[in-house]
Symmetry: C2
Subunit: 240 residues, 2 copies
């Protein structure tokens, strides 16, 4: 992992990777690639001293993150005024079975992002965000859809957070036993884990002649979700 200072997030006591710090990275390229290959995050926030951990959908625009929720949700009411939040995205890559318990592990890639979350209230920013919430996943799809009603726009809340600090943590080494343990007659292996797309299931109520648009080509059976998301992200933001 390299960290280009010109394009890296600042590091301090909040986001410095302390445990096995050689696995840490702070550069934009590493952190943004992890964010753009995901769609599901967990967001942590605090209400009266109680931490909450909420799964939701997110996407990146430059060094800003957006995420989604209903106006009715507890999380969004609480974060509307610039509340501290932490958002994490994690990809599990393999299970690592070593020759002792201590060296059992997983290969993974994760990113943690810190900032002040705020409710998006500016109409132009919200309109654009509601388009990108869909188009970030499915490039140019919003233009093909039934237009949103005022009530739907009102009922959808969007949260924005400028990334103040961030860190990535990556483990890729597979089995890493103590040197002397390799001489023991113990079975060890790495089991890869992949999150893949199944066969797309067209709605049974499609009108005759309505075909799957080519903008959905990134989403094909057997492909890794992460690769499809990264391709869709690049296609969506390339033309803006």
């Amino acid at each position: 992992m390299t960290s280009d200072n010109a394009t890296a997030y600042p590091v301090d006591t909040v986001n410095r990777v302390k445990r096995l710090h050689q696995r840490g990275a702070y550069d934009h390229a590493t952190i943004h690639a992890l964010l753009d290959g995901g769609m599901l995050c967990h967001v942590s926030y605090v209400i009266e001293g109680q931490p909450y951990c909420t799964p939701t959908l997110y996407w990146r625009e430059g060094t800003r993150l957006y995420w989604h929720g209903s106006s009715a949700s507890r999380m969004l009411r609480n974060l509307s005024n610039g509340e501290p939040a932490c958002l994490a995205v994690t990809q599990l890559d393999s299970l690592v079975l070593a020759r002792c318990g201590f060296n059992h592990s997983v290969d993974f890639r994760s990113v943690m992002v810190f900032g002040q979350a705020r409710l998006v209230t500016d109409p132009a920013e919200k309109e654009r965000a509601l388009v990108m919430m869909v188009d970030r996943l499915f490039p140019h799809r919003t233009a093909l859809l039934r237009q949103s009603s005022a009530q739907e726009i009102k009922a959808t809340a969007v949260i924005a957070m400028d990334i103040e600090r961030a860190s990535a943590k990556v483990r890729t080494k597979g089995i890493g036993d103590n040197e002397e343990d390799y001489s023991l007659p113990i079975y060890a292996e790495r089991i890869p884990v992949r999150t893949v797309l199944g066969k797309p299931e067209p709605c049974p109520r499609l009108l005759p002649g309505v075909e799957r648009p080519h903008t959905l080509d990134p989403y094909r059976e057997g492909r890794e979700l992460e690769a499809a998301l990264a391709e869709a992200y690049a296609a969506s933001y390339a033309t803006l």
Copy 2:
């Protein structure tokens, strides 16, 4: 979703599912099944008003959760005295492309658990936890491994949290467009998402004659991780 009062977690303002409450469940069967089919969670905790969201490995024992980390980690130092925490596990099941932006969604299953996290310091509880940290995933494996050293045991921290409150939230309905939108010439589909095991990769340094033990049979190529984890969990805890 049914909720058997005799075997359900209590519900109050902290864990009640407010948004689309019909998707909420509080019964042990629903919540425990979701927990036992996962291994990666995100844990939220608070340090000086700053929320953190940390991915880690966890497992369940009755109505108690355990999770793992190094003694050196910031999270565990902070949670050692019974600090409030929230742990979430989420399974993404499909992407849902509807006929308007508002009805775009995902099918998912998630669980949030609340309680007071504490560092496991009792030697007997810690010893048992270090066995189950491995054996919960790979039944009876610890007995086949090189024994842990005192230094390794000291360097591994285990956190325990009795589940005080919990909620599950499940969406399974796929496409749910407004009735009038089905008459529009717009393409809609559901794309299944599955997290599956790849082909296990034996360590290249295995000694001759060392075979894969049958206790790893739940982990076979192409199987869903969730099914393998649930089978392994049942096998591990069945004989205790």
